[in-house]
């Protein structure tokens, strides 16, 4: 008896228990209007993405005048300078070289290691878990590690390469124009290939086993199965991994900053380092903003082209 009475009283008691201010606050969310739910995200986007972007564009038409201590409108000057700046074009070339080489090696090596680790035998779970280790190291620290390992006096990589006769001891890896970029790439490849492996492994291990068994019975060799079954089934996963990694690689900064500072000469001067140098060393805020805008535009164009071509669906 008392239980039914309590149940009947429940709804009204529930409403009245809520304080007035809370009811007013929650009222917009009680209907089916979309805006109240979207508002927090819109505010964040405006504050942290749209506003900085617009400010950056605005900045590219201005330049800081150190003596007058103010930003002054310079029209298209920054863009004209950029067009004629050989150091800008040089760094763009370095960035693309780095981008294609690192991405290709990480993709191929990542897939190869993922295929090797895709096994249910005991111990492989541990191996897969160990892969995450390189990912938790700050890139700047990795840069330091590789700087030391490639030291011409006591670096272990230098020592090994000299032992097998690939280096003759007269040309330190990171201070020689022809090898410095490769030296930086080594750090990136070592640190981020496991990331590719992890994504590929997640993809490989979620594939259904039956098409592979069917292909075996159809007479396909392991290589044919990889080319005709595994790769097509993995294409979306590969595309996403390449996209994420590609954007990262394109705006790489830490390794060159720590290991070579862009040198020797300009042989490792990537775009983000050049933008950083113009902005903070030379206090050319407008020009730095212009370079970073170009970098953004390239990433957007390349990434969207890639999404189109690889038919990635989000």
């Amino acid at each position: 008896m008392s239980r039914t009475a309590a149940a009947a009283a429940e709804p009204s008691a529930y409403v009245s228990r809520r304080p007035e201010w809370l009811r007013l606050l929650l009222r917009p969310f009680s209907g089916d209007a979309a805006f109240p739910w979207l508002a927090p995200l819109i505010v964040m986007l405006l504050l942290f993405t749209i506003y900085p972007l617009i400010y950056n564009i605005w900045l590219s038409f201005h330049e800081y005048a150190p003596f007058r201590r103010q930003l002054e409108f310079v029209g298209l000057d920054n863009w004209r300078t950029l067009w004629q700046d050989t150091r800008f074009w040089g760094s763009l070339g370095v960035t693309f070289t780095y981008f294609f080489f690192v991405l290709t090696v990480q993709l191929v090596l990542g897939m190869a290691i993922a295929l090797l680790l895709d096994s249910d035998e005991p111990g492989f779970g541990l191996l897969r878990a160990l892969l995450t280790l390189t990912l938790v190291i700050p890139p700047a620290i990795t840069g330091m590690m590789f700087l030391l390992m490639q030291d011409s006096e006591f670096g272990v990589i230098t020592y090994i390469l000299e032992s097998v006769g690939l280096l003759d001891g007269t040309q330190p890896i990171l201070s020689t124009g022809s090898t410095a970029l490769i030296g930086v790439m080594l750090a990136d490849i070592w640190q981020w290939t496991p990331f590719m492996v992890l994504i590929f492994l997640a993809g490989l291990r979620s594939l259904p086993p039956e098409p592979f068994e069917a292909a075996m019975l159809d007479g396909a060799s392991p290589f044919q199965i990889f080319r005709r079954i595994t790769l097509p089934l993995m294409s979306k996963v590969i595309a996403v991994a390449v996209l994420i990694r590609g954007i990262d690689v394109f705006r790489m900064f830490d390794y060159v900053f720590v290991m070579t500072s862009g040198g020797p000469g300009t042989s490792t001067y990537v775009l983000s380092l050049y933008a950083w140098q113009q902005t903070f060393s030379f206090v050319k805020w407008g020009y730095g903003a212009t370079i970073s805008l170009v970098s953004l535009a390239i990433i957007l164009i390349v990434a969207n082209l890639f999404i189109k071509l690889a038919k990635v669906r989000w």
Binding site: P208, E210, P211, E213, A214, A215, M216, L217, D218, G219, A220, S221, Q224, R228, I229, P232, L233, S235
Partner: protein
Amino acid sequence: MATVEYRNIAKTYGAFEVMHDLNLSIADGEFAVLLGASGCGKTTLLRMTAGLETVTAGDLLIDDRRVNDVPPRDRDIAMVFQNYALYPTMTVAENISFSLEIRSVPKAERRRRAEEAAALVGLTEHLNRYPRELSGGQRQRVAMARAMVRDAKVFLFDEPLSNLDAKLRAQMRFEIRQLHDRLGTTTIYVTHDQIEAMTMADKIVLMRGGEIEQVGTPDELYDRPVSRFAADFIGSPAMNFVEGTIEANGNAPAFVAEGMHLALSTSISALPGRRVVCGLRPADLVLDTDGSVEGHLVLAEKTGPDLQLHMTVGGQDFIATAPRDANVQSGDRVRLTVAPEKLHLFDPDNGQRL
């Protein structure tokens, strides 16, 4: 086309033995059905035949050649999987002709044979579609066409119809059997559905707990089940089992239990006074006012063509079938009779046929 022979086959997973000393031979061109409940080892046996599982001990022979260590791709076997296992990124035509592509058959020839196979299973319209655009039944046909295009020595089917609806299942049953009759390829077909086994098989291999319970034609399994298990597995609705004793009145032995007194054919060798289990198929029971089985009718269920009589006989559930126009009602006391040669007697302890 080929023979398949299993000699003393054993299979263990770690310390767990799922199959022990299994012997079976399947003749050239035969349609053999491996029948059994889930976990009985029928799929394991099929996958060992395909080479997808290793054989722990014994010899597996295809066309008199030992293939234990031959990889799947060199066994010349085609298999249709339960969930079809189509290549998702290939069109129907590419799916069907993939095995030919592997064998470097010229493109035109590939296309021609794929079209032929597709025509056989009624897929001509869909050659350029992807598996995801097809219905379950159509996917099943692609899987069959993919197997057929091969001219393989042996066809393996792993519960191919279990994902289809009842109507389509009946149709595909017929089509698979027809296909076999046309191609004449040795076929091993795994199922847990006794109707599929009864309708399609030349030879049924009934399995239980990793061992073969009975091998025979569908008629042999239906008419002379070797054990209570086999009798129970085949036939729908399932056989009724009643425990009772044999009584001998001179030359006329009879099976006696509560609510029934059934004359036995004189060929029964069981001793008088012995306790036995008697099996009666619902379809063998006939309504008869002079019948010697007396029961209480709980429910007369209309199935369309006939009535299913749910009864209690001597306190035990009992099912019989009757013509649809039978004049019976729930709550009636009914009498049934059964021909002596339709009785199946089993040992109550080990379940073996007497």
